[in-house]
């Protein structure tokens, strides 16, 4: 059975990747004010939903029935509504499994990055920025440790 761990460090490492370019998520009209947190978390959730979808089959084999679907549902909720708790919970389930799927993640990184970039571009990122953010997100998921956190990237 999948264990849910405290993934706050991983969450913040991924948050670091999105937040600097998050203003691209603002709507393109005069209503733009301070960037809502939900937009940032939503973009991160949607990106991770793409990631999880690519590897849920592998996760499902390891974790047993229902676990992969649960992760997918949590990421989707985070992506749709900007629910931080859902995102943290999903990462809590995902983090212990990352080492076991790391090899496959690396081999499919380019395809995954393209799909994540497409999601970010739909939400307002220029295509080159979306591609770069997607790439860095996947790198961070590949090394989900305390290394490099806190002081920035």
């Amino acid at each position: 059975m999948m264990a849910c761990v405290d993934a706050s460090d991983l969450y913040l490492r991924l948050y670091d990747v999105i937040i600097d370019d998050a203003e691209y998520l603002q709507p393109d009209d005069d209503a733009r004010h301070m960037l809502p947190d939900a937009l940032v978390i939503g973009a991160l959730g949607a990106s991770l939903a793409i990631f999880a979808k690519g590897f849920l089959g592998k996760l499902g084999e390891r974790a047993g029935d229902g676990a992969a679907d649960k992760i997918a549902a949590l990421f989707k909720r985070a992506g749709d509504s900007g629910d931080r708790d859902a995102l943290l919970e999903a990462l809590g389930f995902l983090q212990p499994e990352l080492p076991s799927i790391a090899a496959r993640v690396r081999s499919e990184r380019e395809a995954q990055a393209a799909r994540i970039a497409e999601v970010l571009a739909q939400r307002g990122f220029p295509k080159p920025v979306a591609a770069e953010v997607a790439r860095v997100l996947l790198e961070r998921l590949d090394t989900p440790t305390r290394e490099g956190q806190g002081g920035g990237q």
């Binding site: 913040l12 948050y15 600097d20 203003e23 691209y24 295509k127 956190q149 806190g150 002081g151 990237q153």
Partner: protein, 362 residues
């Protein structure tokens, strides 16, 4: 042993050397020709450079003075048809045609556009001209994001942080005032848009012309409105319509609408225009954050010292929330502040470490 002179034009077109090398050659040539007054002196200067450097220079027959060299540059531009050639064309346009000083880092897009009229005789292939214009636009904006990242991540002292903010502010001011592709209609005035062949549109502006035309339309006097349009047409063509494009019609736009800069329709496809708008909006937000941080006094050492106490309070507040959740929220807030230039990166590192180390059970 004197090397055989190299035909620079042929070399560039066939070998496609790196732009930096071509630029070096051209600068060497420029330097060598600075005091040349006769064809013989030119030949001697070129031969001298040939013996000194492994990279040779444009030679050709003797007698290449300033006008002939300019024609050589124009010939090279006409031949450009790929990315490397366009890079060379861009540099030639900037330094040899528009005479932008080497120390001018702004690459003013609008200044380049204003110079097109003066050099209308330049016979540039359409795809080259448009690509160079796109390149000029993108270069001006491409500096913003790296400078923003630097301002958020680099500094290790208060002085360094202020320097990075200042660099970013200068870049943002330049692009926001000189390289925009969107214009907002003045409140209270309509705008007249002339429609040109090929789907291109040109903004003829508002003001007195628009007011007079609206007044005529309000009276139902279509003939008068058309006379007013016709009277302004020649002036508009001379001012803003690119050479050779036919005017097909005109329409009005309501006050307050955001309309694309007329040049945007020339140089961008719809996707490219959308991306450019996103960059403009992003840069506008950075400028707003920077101004807020500066005017609110956040860019001061006193404020930064106060942040330490504020983070302690956030960390200790709300006893019903788990320590872990408080810590995540506070560390998230630190990142938002850093992203908005309210917190220097070196202070961020210290505070974030403090909060992560504080992440113990209740």
């Amino acid at each position: 042993m004197t090397q055989a002179p190299l035909d620079l034009k042929s070399f560039v077109l066939t070998q496609r050397p790196a732009v930096a090398r071509v630029i070096t050659w051209q600068r060497m040539l420029d330097e060598a020709l600075r005091d040349v007054v006769t064809p013989r002196e030119w030949v001697e200067a070129v031969e001298h450079l040939n013996t000194e450097k492994s990279a040779a220079l444009a030679a050709g027959t003797g007698g290449l003075g300033g006008a002939e060299y300019r024609q050589f540059c124009l010939d090279l531009l006409e031949s450009a048809h790929d990315a490397a050639g366009i890079e060379v064309a861009h540099w030639i346009l900037k330094h040899y045609i528009f005479r932008v000083p080497d120390d001018d880092k702004s690459e003013s897009f609008n200044a380049m556009l204003a110079a097109w009229d003066r050099y209308g005789a330049i016979r540039l292939p359409e795809h080259v001209r448009l690509e160079v214009m796109r390149s000029l636009y993108r270069r001006a904006w491409s500096r913003v994001r790296p400078l923003a990242s630097q301002a958020r991540r680099r500094s290790e002292s208060f002085g360094e942080w202020l320097f990075d903010l200042a660099q970013l502010a200068v870049a943002l001011h330049e692009v926001s005032t000189r390289v925009r592709i969107t214009n907002r209609s003045e409140a209270g005035h309509g705008r007249i848009i002339f429609e040109l062949a090929g789907g291109v549109e040109v903004d003829a502006g508002g003001g007195a012309f628009a007011d007079a035309r609206f007044a005529a339309l309000d009276k139902g006097d279509m003939a008068q409105a058309e006379r007013i349009e016709a009277a302004y047409l020649a002036d508009v063509k001379a001012r803003v319509v690119p050479r050779g494009l036919e005017v097909l019609g005109a329409r009005t736009e309501l006050p307050g609408e955001e309309v694309p800069h007329p040049v945007a329709n020339l140089i961008f496809e719809p996707d490219g225009y959308l991306e450019a708008r996103r960059e403009e909006a992003y840069a506008a937000e950075q400028l707003a954050h920077l101004r807020t941080a500066a005017t609110d006094g956040r860019c001061s050492q006193e404020t930064i010292r106060g942040l330490y106490l504020e983070m302690l309070q956030i960390s200790a507040s709300d006893s019903l929330t788990s320590s872990s959740k408080r810590s995540v929220a506070a560390r998230e807030r630190l990142r938002q502040m850093r992203a908005r230039y309210e917190l220097p990166p070196y202070v961020f590192a210290h505070l974030d470490h403090m909060l992560s180390a504080d992440d113990s059970g209740p």
